[in-house]
């Protein structure tokens, strides 16, 4: 099913393992190099920066090629109906297959972009078709079903991460639109059904990830786990459910019936993720849990203003500092399978000083007397001479 060379894929998995052991300090640099030489991988899969560059350039090429072709055929009125995007999508797919087979691209940015545009053309074309056949009814149910089929196929064929996320989301979209058709009963139970489905997806991906047949799809399944944990939380989050229900019932500003159920979920689920993630040493769950604590706090503050924002920020910040200090102290020697030791990694993150750039971005313009930083710059841009007069 998968398009890529299986020997190389197997070796790539070994490379990941070697790098992981190297990060943990169990293999030396020379050993890593020798092992990588032994298990050859011929894929074109460059580093993240290159990948982004190639991704954007490929998107430019596809956009302008499709535009040029459309311009060429527009005289003959060939592009006026839904067949045109479907033709473009199919052409795109054929090019993608040929390109990946011929040039051994695997996660190079080029293949990622082509996969994305293929899916876009095909799903968009199908939506156009449904609209042509029956313009009176919205056809989101069938569109999400087609999106599911397309994205699952592309995931299985190319082990593409974006498509695995899309397949998870389109399955949920399908359930969402289908369940809505059940009328008021459907509307009332919608959040719970979505939570149930998300949970089921998570459970399924957790079970399947160690299966031999899923060997090449572990990264895809990780993405699916992340997405399903997020949707599980979002479909029970008070803010999301309230806003969505008011939107669907056309009752802006109304509070949610049985709100306490959703408040419980909003507050306790992130903590549950953290606790369960720490207990089972599940890094994915632990990180999502930490992220969602912020979501819970934000939701709470949207409805209840216990204290002014700056006091909340200061206290929250101090609490976070203390908590992380406590964790560092506690884990000074590794305990219970956890450590705070840095990974010995020469990854892009360190190479690019991402962390320090973020510090520069967030703190770069703070601190200096607020009266002058703003007005100096403002003065400069308005008067022209203001900025150079200062020095």
């Amino acid at each position: 099913m998968i398009i890529h060379n299986k020997t190389w894929l197997n070796n790539l998995k070994l490379h990941e393992q070697f790098e992981d052991d190297h990060d943990a300090g169990c293999l030396t640099d020379n050993e890593l190099k020798a092992l990588k030489m032994k298990y050859m991988v011929g894929f074109e899969s460059p580093g993240i920066i290159m990948r982004i560059g190639l991704f954007v350039l490929t998107l430019i090429i596809v956009t302008f090629s499709a535009g040029a072709l459309s311009l060429f055929f527009s005289e003959a009125h060939l592009i006026d109906n839904f067949v045109w995007p479907l033709i473009l999508g199919t052409t795109n797919y054929i090019i993608l297959e040929k390109w990946v087979k011929g040039n051994y691209h695997y996660g190079s940015g080029v293949d990622n972009a082509l996969i994305m545009t293929t899916a876009g053309f095909l799903i968009g074309g199908f939506g156009w078709m449904m609209d042509t056949i029956d313009p009176a009814h919205s056809s989101f149910t069938s569109i999400s079903l087609v999106a599911l089929a397309v994205s699952v196929y592309l995931t299985l064929r190319f082990a593409d991460l974006l498509m695995s996320a899309l397949s998870c989301l389109s399955l949920l979209a399908f359930v969402f639109f289908a369940w809505q058709r059940l009328g008021s009963f459907g509307m009332a139970t919608l959040p719970f059904v979505l939570m149930l489905v998300s949970g089921a997806i998570y459970y399924f991906s957790k079970r399947i990830i160690n299966h031999p047949k899923a060997y090449y799809y572990d990264h895809c399944l990780h993405i699916i786990q992340i997405v399903s944990l997020l949707t599980l939380y979002l479909s029970g989050n008070y803010y999301v459910v309230n806003e969505l229900s008011n939107q669907l019932h056309n009752t802006p500003g109304a509070p949610l019936p049985f709100g306490f159920i959703f408040w419980t979920i909003t507050i306790l689920l992130p903590l549950g993720y953290i606790a369960w993630g720490a207990k089972t040493k599940n890094a994915v769950m632990l990180r999502i849990g930490l992220l969602l604590v912020a979501g819970a706090v934000y939701t709470f503050r949207t409805y209840y203003h216990v204290m002014p924002i700056e006091a909340a920020l200061s206290i929250g910040g101090a609490a976070m500092l203390l908590a992380s200090y406590a964790v560092i102290k506690f884990l000074k020697t590794p305990k219970k399978g956890f450590t705070t030791a840095p990974l010995k990694r020469s990854s892009v993150l360190n190479h690019l000083n991402i962390e320090s750039i973020i510090i520069g971005e967030t703190f770069g313009n703070t601190g200096t007397a607020p009266t002058d930083a703003g007005s100096r710059f403002g003065g400069g841009s308005a008067g022209g001479g203001g900025s150079s007069a200062g020095y």
């Binding site: 070994l14 393992q17 052991d21 943990a24 030396t28 092992l35 460059p46 920066i49 290159m50 560059g53 190639l54 350039l57 090429i61 302008f64 040029a68 311009l71 160690n210 572990d218 399944l221 632990l286 990180r287 930490l290 924002i309 700056e310 920020l313 200061s314 910040g317 976070m320 500092l321 560092i328 399978g337 956890f338 840095p342 000083n353 962390e355 320090s356 750039i357 973020i358 510090i359 520069g360 971005e361 703190f363 770069g364 313009n365 703070t366 601190g367 200096t368 007397a369 607020p370 009266t371 002058d372 100096r376 710059f377 400069g380 841009s381 022209g384 203001g386 150079s388 200062g390 020095y391």
Partner: protein
Amino acid sequence: MTTHHNYDIYDELHAQKLVSDESFEKLQQRRNNPLLSVHWEVKTVLYLGITLLTGGVGTLVYKNIDTIGHQVIIAFIALLTAGCFTYAFKHKKPYSRSRVETPNTFFDYVLLLGTLSFLILVGYLQYQYNIFGSNYGLATAIPMVAVFYIAYDFDHIGILNMAIANLGVWMGVTATPRHLLAEGTFNSQSIILTYLAFGLMLLAAAWCTQKFVIKKHFKFTYEHYGIHASSVALLAGYFFNYDEGSSFLWLLGALGLSVGLYFDSFKEKSYYFALLSVLYGYFTTSCIVFRILSLDTVGEGIIALGMMYMILSAVGIIFLLTSTYKKFKTL
């Protein structure tokens, strides 16, 4: 650990002498007692904590500026600054012209917190007591110098980023690429020239780190801001002087800068800068091509020609990037 971690393979590799006895021992240990590193999680929480705390305290000060309470807050900030720097100086390793490893993870963040609260303090003193008078140059120069000193003495790249941003504030420009694009208003010749001077200064600083062997690892940061500021300034200069003949000089400058940095990136083995210079160079070339196309010699066909140019040039850039990447791999 990866999903399908296969420790059995190391038995064979050990027998083939590809894995040394020592490493093999470590691997067995890891197999029996796998550790999950929460290093990045802890760092993220620390970083967020500092962001929230300094943001909150900074706002508290200005909201309560006329009440009794603000003196308590100021005292708190002063104490915080003093505390952080006491800790930092106590645990500091001696200055060196090369990289100094941090004593521990917590140290970096204490220093960051100290620097931020120091800046809040200086800002407050200026606001309330006007200690620098109306001399804004001095009011921004002193924190800037202090921050540069901290960055070098404690070898903290994050704080170097702040120092560069402060240098920008002192010169009257914004430094970070995001702010450049979001609020950079290039509507006067003098602002553009200031930006250009700022960018070139940073590039010169980047060059100096290597030439005089002072904190060589700071080069990346200087060059990162330098490339963005000077390239954006040169391109802005072109658009500002669009109707004048001199506009092409700006483009030539931008192109020259890109070419120079492209070849310099090979010396530094930094693919990031190669990519940046290619992208800025590509943008500049596209400006020239579209300027020529818009001279109205081709008439109707201009849209088709423009599209052809976009497609072909993007293909060309892909080939250029891939071949550059291959060269970097063999470096």
